[in-house]
């Protein structure tokens, strides 16, 4: 069974401090990993996906298959980063049901001015 674990419900950091939101997953094959974000009063939206290997709004995430982790990082937090962040996975493209997204419970990031 596929599972995504986000151990922190709330992460508070000061503006300008580094951010790391933790995410671990369990899946028997080669999944695709994502980070979704939900800002206050806005809808859930895709932040980044591991296959793109891109940096969005200063955030990066590296897939570590050995540790089955996909932590989200940003070197300097900004107030506008305050939001709910969800780590998620889908089965690999060669697996059945590959469009089904499994979410973690989410981490609320609070950036203190």
């Amino acid at each position: 069974a596929q599972r995504v674990t986000q151990p922190e419900k709330l992460l508070s950091v000061f503006k300008g401090a580094p951010v790391e939101l933790k995410c671990n997953y369990s899946y028997s094959g080669s999944p695709e990993l994502f980070w979704y974000v939900q800002y206050s009063r806005q809808r859930l939206q895709l932040l980044l996906r591991h296959i793109s290997r891109e940096s969005i709004k200063g955030f990066t995430a590296d897939l570590n298959k050995g540790e089955t982790s996909f932590h989200l990082k940003k070197p300097f937090a900004q107030e506008e980063d305050s939001a709910m962040y969800y780590c998620a996975l889908t089965p690999g493209r060669n697996s059945g049901g590959y469009q089904k997204v499994t979410f973690g419970t989410g981490t609320k990031l609070q950036v203190i001015p």
């Binding site: 809808r43 089904k100 997204v101 979410f103």
Partner: protein, 114 residues
């Protein structure tokens, strides 16, 4: 371009009543998904439509839930009869055809069963 829309935004009903949630995907998106977040828990997949066909309904909790997508456009999710544990936020998402297309989420419908 309009995003995914959901109606109603909130619904408060009594246990035993029926509620129907509606989702209008982005125009041209063949894939439509329903998800649910129960208080304090993760967002869980319910089902996936490709056009009007149910591709995967493995996440539907029980037979009190019925999803339809007649004509392959908007979708409805009916809960009948509603139970207390059905309370939560119901999200709809849509994506273009193809395996790795981004899913765009609607704002969700907050359902409270009393």
């Amino acid at each position: 371009e309009a995003g995914v829309t959901q109606f109603p935004s909130h619904s408060v009903i009594e246990k035993g009543q029926t509620v129907t949630l509606r989702c209008d995907p982005i125009s041209g998106h063949d894939n439509l998904y329903w998800y649910r977040r129960v208080m304090g828990k993760e967002i869980k997949f319910l089902l996936h439509f490709v056009k009007e066909s149910k591709q995967d309904e493995s996440g539907m909790p029980n037979n009190r839930f019925l999803a339809e997508r007649t004509g392959g456009t908007y979708s409805t999710l009916k809960v009948q009869p509603a139970e207390l544990e059905d309370s939560g936020v119901y999200f709809c998402a849509s994506s273009q055809d193809g395996g790795r297309k981004t899913q765009y989420f609607g704002p969700g419908t907050r359902l409270l069963v009393l």
